[in-house]
Symmetry: C2
Subunit: 346 residues, 2 copies
């Protein structure tokens, strides 16, 4: 197999370009064979890359001085910045200059840049941004992870689109997370097949008939982290709000622990005694371990890392991206869609 080439939006994210370069170094320490393309300001990247002592054999730079910042409105930003790093990266990917693209920048701009530059798979009408969350293990063989999609790429979905998300999520779990029989649940307001609006009822019926995936029916909000399904399918509008609500609750809990810490010496001692367990829990829920979230539905692979990513998160995201390429995730999804979705829509 030829060397895997990863296109990095080197200017995207709260701590770019530094964490992108140092994250790349972490990934290269584990995988010397990777090739990297840094898309960004060469005046800033060159000294950083030299300082980080990356071997010039492993990378090249594609220069641009335009970048979409985290708080810009995606559509306007891409219009006024035709050479924005995220757009150039997507263009390089479209022109087969690399196998996968990774950005920690503005999520909306990343999705939009890909929509503008890269074709979608036949049968996949809209793309989906996925999020991987920790979940309970109901059975010993369970992976302890749940993927929710979409969480913000496609706000409102037809049943055809939701069905394609179920197929894509299933294959991501199989190929990238190595869990061969992921269960698929449809996020809804109740478990009965007839719950929710018409599109949900229709999607439920279609998923029940669909081969090649393991559909367990509707799941409720409380089931997302319970580990009743590995793939939770929902429209982006709901997925985005749910994901952020849970993030908010987790932050609230951390804030409470911080306050307790300041409160008394007994509490300090208690927290110290618990610190190995707290660390273990933190590691389990830590997004830096998960290596970014895939944007699925395109003919090319795209990964989105968290805007707050540190170098470890970027390093993991690069490694996961490479693994997805090597497992031919896009090919597997494409084949599955062709076999199970296209015949139904004809």
């Amino acid at each position: 197999m030829a060397n895997c080439t990863i296109i990095l939006d080197a200017m995207g994210g709260d701590h770019a370009p530094d964490v992108i370069v140092y994250g790349a170094r972490q990934a290269l320490a584990r995988r010397r064979d990777l090739k990297l393309i840094f898309v960004g300001d060469s005046n800033r990247l060159k000294p950083l890359l030299e300082k980080a002592e990356l071997s010039p054999a492993n990378y090249k730079i594609v220069h641009t001085d335009q970048v979409v910042s985290m708080d810009e409105v995606p559509r306007a930003a891409l219009q006024y910045k035709p050479r924005a790093s995220v757009l150039l990266a997507a263009e390089l990917l479209a022109r087969d200059q690399g196998d996968v693209m990774l950005s920690a920048g503005n999520t909306g701009a990343t999705i939009l840049a890909c929509s503008q530059k890269i074709e979608r798979l036949p049968g996949v009408e809209r793309s989906a941004l996925a999020a991987v969350l920790p979940s309970m293990r109901q059975r010993p063989q369970d992976p302890g992870k749940t993927m929710m999609l979409d969480v913000g790429a496609t706000l409102h979905c037809t049943s055809n689109q939701l069905v394609s998300f179920a197929i894509m999520g299933t294959h991501y779990f199989r190929e990238v997370l190595g869990f061969t029989q992921p269960r698929v649940g449809l996020l809804n307001i109740g478990e009965e097949d007839t719950k929710g609006h018409q599109i949900l009822v229709e999607t439920n019926a279609r998923l029940r008939r669909l081969g090649g995936i393991q559909f367990v029916g509707n799941v409720e909000g409380k089931d997302i982290m319970r580990g009743l399904a590995e793939v939770v399918v929902t429209e982006g509008y709901v997925g985005n709000i749910v994901l952020k609500s849970m993030e908010g609750l987790a932050e609230n809990a951390i804030e409470m622990i911080r306050k307790i810490w300041q409160h008394s010496v007994f509490y300090k001692l208690g927290l110290l005694l618990l610190s190995p367990a707290i660390k273990r829990i933190k590691r389990r829920v830590d997004y830096t371990e998960y290596g970014g979230a895939p944007i699925l539905g395109f003919k090319k692979l795209i990964f989105k890392a968290h805007g707050r990513s540190n170098e470890k998160a970027i390093g993991n995201a690069i490694l996961v991206s490479a693994s997805a390429v090597e497992h031919d995730l896009v090919g597997k999804i494409s084949q599955a869609v062709e076999e199970s979705l296209l015949p139904l829509t004809k």
Copy 2:
């Protein structure tokens, strides 16, 4: 002021009728002047009420042997059980036999029974079920509580309906929770006024123009528990899934603590040292403190207590219900809708 009369669906909830009777006793211990109507099976209620030593001056029983169980489909259940306790309770309320109704039973059946028996306020097209959640205090004067509505009564809403929810939530905070300047946020996928689908954009614009409430703009999922708004407005479909997702996450956290506890003697000691703080947090997030959630939009007051309510939760819910009656919550909401919503819709 005449004595406040509370109509209790004595058969609704996981632990009915026992916790209803013992909860009533707790409430009467604080408020001897309350009158209660127990709607339910008198063969079971009579001995319970005698055993609990409630004074016959404080209550009467309206007998029925029909009850909607927690897992029944609401519409079908109400159709086949015309004398279900929740329907009779709603009917008594409609006929002015009491001032407020409280049920810990099947949520869907409670809302549907009220819709069938009780008129909505002029200008309020649909009812809203509210949930009160703990939130961070950003400023010392903040109440540390956030109300989200709707969480399941009206799955999809027009902007007119969402605006009415904002007004109703504001007045609930003022009259019942005693916080005079609650901030209203519209739950959305981003802060910018133009985010989300057309109805959200329109609702945002209308709330910006609306007098009598303090609108702070769109809020994201992560803001719900951050205390950026006391009243978070959303359609029931999203509100329901978000609420249950956060419940699921909280349960997951409790499960983790339980596992830690079994793990080592050091962890046990750590948790023991922290137990006063854990108790304080538990009290803050404990739904039994909040006294149930109001169902707003009707000409009469209805409260819904959690299905798992214990007697303390029921007792608090009765006291909160009485307080809402005495502050003339429905009158205040009715007036506000008349002043600010009806002119806009003409």
